[in-house]
């Protein structure tokens, strides 16, 4: 079982490494969206420091959604998804592997870029640490929940926009706890509570989301 999971993850990561242009798009999208905000609201450092955590987090949600459209779509088009669904292993394992691969490809680079963007917004060092930490706990949730949306909208026209409509409301708690943790660190109220709630949400998504994604995949493929 574990080997199957590793195979699924490695396959997707390898594919992403071969097609570097594809996944770089989402990372640059993240950087660009974040950089648009100072241009929109003005360069006052005090203002930027207040909106910084929220801006980085919202942009992370959008960047994640941008890359989710292709989570199953390529495999669906060339027929390999159906082959994988026919494998003797539970389909939720496939969904978990896919979400994990998505997080490795799209989530981890966000963690590495985010501190740089945080510096642009004048966040203090401690807040930068919490920002990375909250993203580290939060982005896997984005990939897991997003997997459900990707499975539901598989092969539909306008799937990219549709996935945003379906999944963005479900991201609300992640956004609140994630951005809240950073703000808590900055205002001195502490961020442990936010981070532990985010962790609880991660555990819950790990348990439920792959299973629902597998059901959704079955519905969409049959």
């Amino acid at each position: 079982m574990l080997r199957f999971l590793i195979t699924v993850v490695r396959r997707d990561v390898l594919l992403a490494v071969r097609r570097r242009g594809d996944w770089l798009t989402a990372q640059f999208f993240f950087v660009m969206v974040v950089s648009m905000f100072p241009l929109g609201v003005g360069p006052e450092p005090s203002m930027l420091r207040v909106i910084g955590p929220g801006v980085v987090w919202v942009s992370a949600l959008l960047a994640c959604l941008l890359s989710l459209g292709r989570l199953y779509a390529d495999d669906f088009r060339d027929g390999s998804l159906e082959q994988m669904l026919l494998s003797p292993y539970p389909n939720s394992l496939l969904a978990l592997g896919k979400a994990l691969a998505h997080w490795i490809i799209n989530g981890i680079p966000l963690l590495l870029i985010a501190p740089v963007l945080g510096i642009q917004f004048g966040l203090p060092a401690e807040a930068l640490l919490i920002l990375v930490l909250s993203l580290a706990i939060g982005t896997p949730i984005l990939s897991l929940l997003g997997g459900i949306g990707a499975a539901l909208t598989l092969g539909l026209r306008g799937g990219g926009v549709l996935i945003t409509l379906l999944i963005l409301p479900l991201y609300v708690p992640v956004l609140i706890f994630g951005a809240g943790a950073v703000e808590g660190a900055m205002s001195g109220t502490g961020s442990e509570a936010h981070l532990s709630l985010l962790g609880a949400f991660l555990v819950m998504s790990l348990l439920i989301a792959p299973w629902i994604s597998s059901l959704a995949l079955k519905v969409s493929v049959e």
């Binding site: 459900i148 539901l152 909208t153 539909l156 026209r157 306008g158 799937g159 549709l162 409509l165 379906l166 963005l168 409301p169 479900l170 609300v172 708690p173 609140i176 706890f177 809240g180 703000e183 109220t189 709630l197 949400f201 439920i208 629902i212 059901l215 959704a216 519905v219 969409s220 049959e222």
Partner: protein, 244 residues
């Protein structure tokens, strides 16, 4: 009585047709009583004057918006568990009405907030959750509209519906928490007038009217959906010719 008998679209269609006038009638009668209570029996509030009368639609609409989403999830779960096509159709028929009540709750909330707190909108926990509920309804309907294959549309919508229901408490809790952390404005909804018995009655009657209305409208909508789906069958053809 055999429930499975009515679970078949061919028998449900005429049954729904017979029930609609009754529920519509009840909705009209209860609505009239509710309006009478809200305008003529309920006394003027000493704090909010006549403005508080908005409560008689705002609260029932908010109740209905949440209640309908739960009922939809119930039918979605039944449909997924027992593979009954009719349950999916009922869930689907309820969604637009649920979205409408959510919109009404938001709209009346704004029209109540303006005179009472001086702003059309506050990022209050309840208002914000209601807004997200509206997004959930919209997502459900958009997904259904985007899928052409009926079987897939039913099941995908039901799954999304259930995911939404699991998330609603989490969303509500997180929004509430977020709101208490950001006590920017001193506005609080908990300062609403203490509920007199007559106000409660007015809201209950209005909620009941809204409920009857919902049943009537969603029965009518599910009839249309059934006819569209079953147009190849013998009874649907007979039905169409009979009404020509």
């Amino acid at each position: 009585m055999n429930l499975y008998y009515y679970a078949s679209p061919a028998t449900f269609y005429p049954l729904a047709g017979k029930l609609i006038p009754w529920f519509a009638g009840l909705a009209v009668v209860l609505g009239a009583i509710g309006l009478y209570i809200s305008f003529f029996i309920a006394p003027t509030d000493f704090q909010q004057g006549e403005g508080y009368r908005i409560i008689f639609i705002h609260v029932p609409a908010a109740w209905m918006s949440m209640f309908i989403y739960l009922v939809m999830a119930f039918w979605s779960a039944i449909g997924l568990a027992f593979n009954t096509r009719l349950s999916f159709l009922i869930a689907r028929a309820l969604a637009p009405t649920g979205a409408m009540f959510t919109f009404i709750a938001l709209w009346t909330g704004a029209f109540w907030g303006k005179p009472m707190w001086g702003t059309w909108w506050v990022w209050d926990a309840r208002l914000t959750s209601e807004l997200i509920l509206l997004f959930l309804y919209v997502g459900y309907m958009a997904l259904q509209a985007a899928i052409d294959a009926p079987r897939r549309a039913d099941r995908a919508g039901a799954l999304l519906n259930l995911v939404g229901v699991i998330n609603i408490p989490i969303i509500y809790f997180s929004v509430k928490w977020w709101n208490t952390l950001h006590q920017g404005s001193s506005v609080s909804l908990t300062g609403a007038p203490s509920m007199a018995m007559i106000m409660l009655w007015g809201m209950l009657v209005m909620a009941l009217a809204a409920w009857m209305y919902t049943i009537a409208v969603s029965l009518a909508r599910s009839r249309i959906l059934i006819l569209e789906r079953e147009r190849q069958t013998e009874w649907a053809r007979a039905q169409l010719e009979g009404q020509a």
